[in-house]
Symmetry: C2
Subunit: 405 residues, 2 copies
């Protein structure tokens, strides 16, 4: 039992909008227990929409379509659905009244073109739209049930949740079970290498990977009877193999894991960033941070390191700004300047210029000052500026987490 998503609109095929509707629908249909094997997007062309509907109806049991139900001349979906199914297009009287009522309530005058939104293939099941003018509808086409929604996200969400989701869920034969393990510290291929025989050892388990650089999410999926037990058995094995790489399960973010480690100790934190340019501060404050983050200092110039953090000028001259002593002095200086328990310091060469044989692009020193002392590390991170910055920010926060463990 497979499902396909169909998005209709030239604004999508020309790359003018990011197709978040497809992502939303694919997620919901997957959650309802069907396997979405295809997302198709087609431009506002009558013949191509009809061809696409016919082909998809011959390949899937469920199709969810969005877009092209508006009042303008390039909204062709209803007419194409009728044509693809070999049915006449009829005007649904109840829908005409509903559209008229909606305009009355909103005190707008109904344009003549809006009546067109009540046209649908003969025999289609209307999905009344309480949050917009275009009703949705669903119908049989070959062996498939095809659901048609308007492309306005809010209206699509309403129609899916109110009318379509119960029907689709009742069709799913095998509810799926999925577990997510979030890892940081190794690349996708190294993580995959560690898990190369999991699918063979646990028949029925599918292992998936998603890289949201530099973190790697490992997904274990199973379907049907015993799926939960199977996923849990495989997860025990996977956790053992990945060890410390796993920082969280499910939807938890890396930032929330680090923040909770700081909160658990009742500490407060000050940041001193050079090459990451405020990225660590920005990451931490992407979630609520006011209870533990006191300040972040982006000490880009040497004089800022001296003025704000008290890094000695002589140290900067002797070792250079990108050095272990300076990373240590930045972490200590941040904590001291703000009078808090935790200081984090990062200094490096993010590139693309500024590298030397001694201190290549990608070299980053990072340090954590905490009540137990100071920990300093360095690494050469590969890749371009934004990657070096992001990698360094994660590595420094990981070090902070380790110091608090």
């Amino acid at each position: 039992m497979t499902a396909g998503i169909l998005c209709i609109g030239t604004e999508i095929t020309r790359g003018e909008i990011v197709n978040t509707n497809a992502t939303w629908l694919a997620d919901r249909v997957t959650q309802a227990g069907l396997e979405v094997t295809e997302i198709a997007c087609v431009d506002d062309d009558r013949a191509r929409i009809v061809d696409m509907l016919r082909r998809m109806a011959s390949e899937h049991e469920v199709i969810v379509s969005t877009g092209g139900l508006g009042p303008t001349s390039d909204d062709l979906t209803s007419a194409c659905a009728a044509m693809a199914a070999g049915l006449p297009l009829v005007r649904d009287v109840a829908s005409v009244e509903a559209i008229r009522d909606r305009f009355r309530v909103m005190r707008f005058t109904m344009a003549p073109s809006n009546v067109k939104q009540a046209d649908m293939p003969s025999g289609a099941v209307v999905m009344p739209n309480a949050v917009g003018t275009a009703p949705g509808f669903w119908m049989r086409m070959g062996r498939a049930k095809v659901f048609f929604f308007p492309g306005v996200p809010r209206e699509m969400h309403y129609l899916w949740e109110t009318h379509a989701e119960p029907v689709v869920r009742s069709m799913a034969r095998e509810p799926a079970v999925q577990l997510r393990l979030n890892t940081f510290g190794e690349g996708e291929s190294a993580v995959a290498e560690r898990l190369s025989d999991i699918e063979a050892r646990y028949p029925g388990i599918t292992v998936g990977y998603r890289a949201t650089f530099p973190a790697i999410e490992v997904k274990l999926l199973a379907k049907g009877r015993g799926a939960r037990e199977l996923v849990e058995a495989a997860a025990v094995d996977v956790r053992t193999r990945l060890g410390k790489l796993v920082y969280a399960e499910g939807q938890r973010t890396f930032v929330s894991v680090v923040a909770d480690a700081v909160r658990a100790r009742g500490y407060r934190l000050a940041l001193a960033e050079s090459c990451t340019g405020g990225l660590v501060a920005q990451m931490l404050t992407s979630e609520s941070a006011s209870d533990y983050l006191v300040a972040g200092m982006v000490t880009y110039a040497n004089e800022a390191k001296t003025k704000l953090l008290g890094v000695p000028e002589a140290m900067l001259e002797e070792h250079g700004a990108v050095s272990e002593p300076v990373a240590r002095a930045m972490a200590e200086g941040a904590a001291r300047a703000m009078g808090v328990e935790l200081g984090l310091g990062i200094t490096g060469v993010a590139g693309p210029t500024g590298g030397s044989p001694d201190k290549p692009v990608g070299l980053v020193h990072y340090a954590v000052a905490y009540p137990g002392g100071v920990e300093v590390r360095h690494r050469v991170f590969p890749g371009e500026r934004a990657r070096v910055q992001r990698f360094a920010a994660f590595a420094a926060l990981q070090l902070l987490r380790t110091c608090l463990a």
Copy 2:
């Protein structure tokens, strides 16, 4: 001459990631002068990938495919491309060496599975990848030229621009001319309203919009003979209507426009951010900034505003941290603390909590201290935390730009 985009990966069909690759490629292929009539996404299933490639190759002259070139067992694209074309899969020796070299440079050990990334259909043209391990390739399949890229956006961008774009552009019968105007200050529908009759006034011009929040890119596209003159005539009209909203043309970033305005005066800048949490620092340092950015201070707690910026405690008590006087004192304090000409201060309620009837979520005060005085503004930005932060960062940098004009 039509083109199709094919995105391969179960993470897409399950709705786990928003498919920005499809949008990016559709935009670029459209710009190269081809008509993209279809975007297809398929899960990591051998039979379905092969079927999809065969069908698309029979319907389009150009197919651009992304994803599934990684080292893991669910990366099937090369094998499926070979199968769809009825060709053997061969290992490209030069690519093996390139992958090995890349690992050597990065001082990583190459996993055995990475060798698989050098496998491609016999006779395919290799597109060497200077920014990642997976090479791309292109080949003929039926009447179509099919391009295969890895799904990592950075690598896909590189391979498209370096290897594929010139080939695709040469195939377009009617080379397209496109002009981009980057705007900030109004939403997409307000910008579109200003330009509603442009397509009618300049027949042959297509107006497109792309929102990279909070900036809106306006694209003017024409094809065939006289395209350049037509685009230029329309652009004069569009520039007049949009006025100050336009901050740059072409591929220039907002950050580079602001940075160049600071550089042109020979000034140096210090930042004091509260609710944006380092986002402004991070935006500025995403490009080279060491010649003008001295320091950024993320003064999240009130004591940080006092210690680092000298904001008087009495002022914080009387007016609250989110207030015009505090924004002003932060901007002045940042410039004074670092001894530089320019200070930027931002304080607000990013949400989701912390709002009050007087100071609702989204309220942001921002100020620029410069040799001509201090400018302070406030606005209530709509939306969730990340949007408020991003909007506020843009607005503050826009104010800085205005002060330097």
